[in-house]
Amino acid sequence: MALLQISEPGASPDPHQRRLAVGIDLGTTNSLVAATRSGIIECLPDAEGHTLLPSVVHYGRHGAEAIGYPALARAADDPANTVISAKRFMGRGVADVAKYGALPYRFVDAPGMVSIETAAGVRSPVEVSAEILRALRLRAEETLGGGLFGAVITVPAYFDDAQRQATKDAARLAGIEVLRLLNEPTAAAIAYGLDNASQGTFAIFDLGGGTFDVSVLRLTNGVFEVLATSGDTALGGDDFDQAIAAHWRAVHGLADASGADTRRLLVAARRAKERLTDEASVEEPVLLSMGQQVVLGLTRQEFEAISAPLVQRTLGPARRALRDAGVLPASVDGVVLVGGATRMPHLQRAVAAFFGQEPLRDLDPEEVVAIGAAMQANALSGNRGGDADWLLLDVTPLSLGIETMGGLVEKVIPRNSTIPLARAQEFTTFKDGQTAMAIHVVQGERELVSDCRSLARFELRGIPPMVAGAARIQVTFQVDADGLLSVSARESTTGVTASIGVKPSYGLSDEQVAAMLREGFDHASGDRDARALAEQRVDAEHLLQALRGALQADGNLLAPAEREALEAAMQSLDQARVGKDHRAIKSAIAALNTTSEPFAARRMDRAVSRALTGRRLDEVPLK
């Protein structure tokens, strides 16, 4: 039976009305899923008790063969087929990816988005992310005991339209209904209940495994506005591990460590880093590949000294974000720590000194984003009882506009506008007798179209010929609650309209998504056939066994010719049974059933007459 959870007073769901909603932190390094159970929001662990799912997918010949920790374990021996940090490639082209330096993947410039050639074929970052999301969905459904109503998925505040769309596409592929995409820093702020204040300015300091983001948020009337974001895409907790490993190599003369030893050193370094959060000094035994056992020691002072430059590097972006937001450290009302690396005591001290206040760190910094997303998901799915209208508004991350003459951008929706919203602006023709207008939708803060990201192009035709400047064309931009855009244009005298749901140039077209979904269905039908085959084989086995037994017992009821026919039918079922065609087995079963019907009838007669022979009617059991 379904297992029940405790509800808020008066909010017990009706049977079959439970709406299971989760928050998903789809991270670059690790991903998590959180949900509300018995009024408490927590990250859901897997069967081994891990709440983190490494965002890693390993592909083999038959598709995604491992996800999470088992996939991570394959990264060393099969790097080309083990996709790590696919999030960085979401909605990106080949040119964007080049700036990440050497990566072990075979990139393919697929239409729309860079893709990776794996043993399972070409996989786009959307498909890789979908595997991770699917694993989280299954974990949640198993844990919560039912199908998901929907999920809130977090994205970095700086994600543009293409990257957001790609994230939504991945969720769709994974069979997840996206209730809302939520900015990661906003989710962290919600987790700390900062949205309960009426207003304030908050800094979110997010040092993850491989990326660093700092965001400044302003809350006014329940709306979080991202004032500024900054960061370093190549700075994370992993760099601290590297620093420790480098220190050990220098101190212990392990300069020419082999590849395998480098990994062992990094694992030991990571353990040492984590232990130093609570301990003053640690010793890590490491068995090197030459069979040499070394004990590598590290004190907290040493660690702080060797990693001081890394800590310093986080403060530059923090300063920049505050400056861009026009906010002084002293006027920040709260600092939220996000990411496992913010557990390091000396990093916390540096953050506290920089902002002049103790950062918030009651919640697990690795779980805080997923928890905020789950709170939002719970509210959006209507599970909060009393104050069910608790809806958080979000803002557009970048300005949206159209190209005007001379390659300039006319902004229609400025960045940080609260969404959902629609905004219209009037444009006119440039030439006498102009009957069509090309509308080029762009996103970005720059003034020149060439510096912004092109989102979509479409044409409005059928404008009546008029002198330049006489036509009035109203262009409407509409952004839905997920930050996704549709644009329409209307000429007022004739009423001709044209519109486009923006397919970001790097996003997936509906056809591409449909093709991927179809591929999923193909597998589904394969799965279904395999199941049907197994079922028919079992049925065939049953029937053959029963008939063999019957022939042994009552074979003398059959004339030789009849027996031959029956045995032939059994033979053909026996042959069909080892084949792969479940329909053939089914029809052979049907044929054998028909052939054996007279035999079964005669056996029945014999059984009845045996039961009746020599007995009085009142002795015969009638039922």
Binding site: I6, L44, T143
Partner: protein, 107 residues
């Protein structure tokens, strides 16, 4: 007349109430709905209501309105883990049958 909690159920209730930060106990009840007629209600109790019958079981206050109690008398509430899924289960001697999903029942 009594409704009880297993030690495991009581422990889980106490932990969740502590984390939630408020609540005087657990409110059980039934409501008439669902495919088999009745459904269980399992909620945090923030205050007692008039006519509530109170029990204490393994240190947890259980509040039940008298109408529901007729359907719940003798029930033992357990907390179980089934694979990754965990939650509360009603062992109710009054229950005659229930719908396949177990979310609603009949007496």
């Amino acid at each position: 007349m009594a409704v009880t909690l297993t030690a495991r159920a009581a422990g889980h209730v106490q932990r969740t109430i502590a984390k939630r930060g408020k609540g005087i106990g657990l409110r059980l009840g039934v409501k008439t709905t669902g495919c088999s007629g009745l459904a269980y209600k399992l909620e945090f109790a923030d205050d007692a209501q008039e006519g509530d019958v109170r029990f204490e079981s393994n240190g947890v206050q259980v509040l039940i309105d008298p109408k529901s109690l007729a359907y719940l008398d003798g029930t033992e509430l357990d907390f179980v883990r089934e694979g990754l899924n965990e939650g509360f289960k009603f062992h109710n001697p009054n229950e005659k049958d229930r719908c396949g999903c177990g979310e609603s029942f009949n007496v």
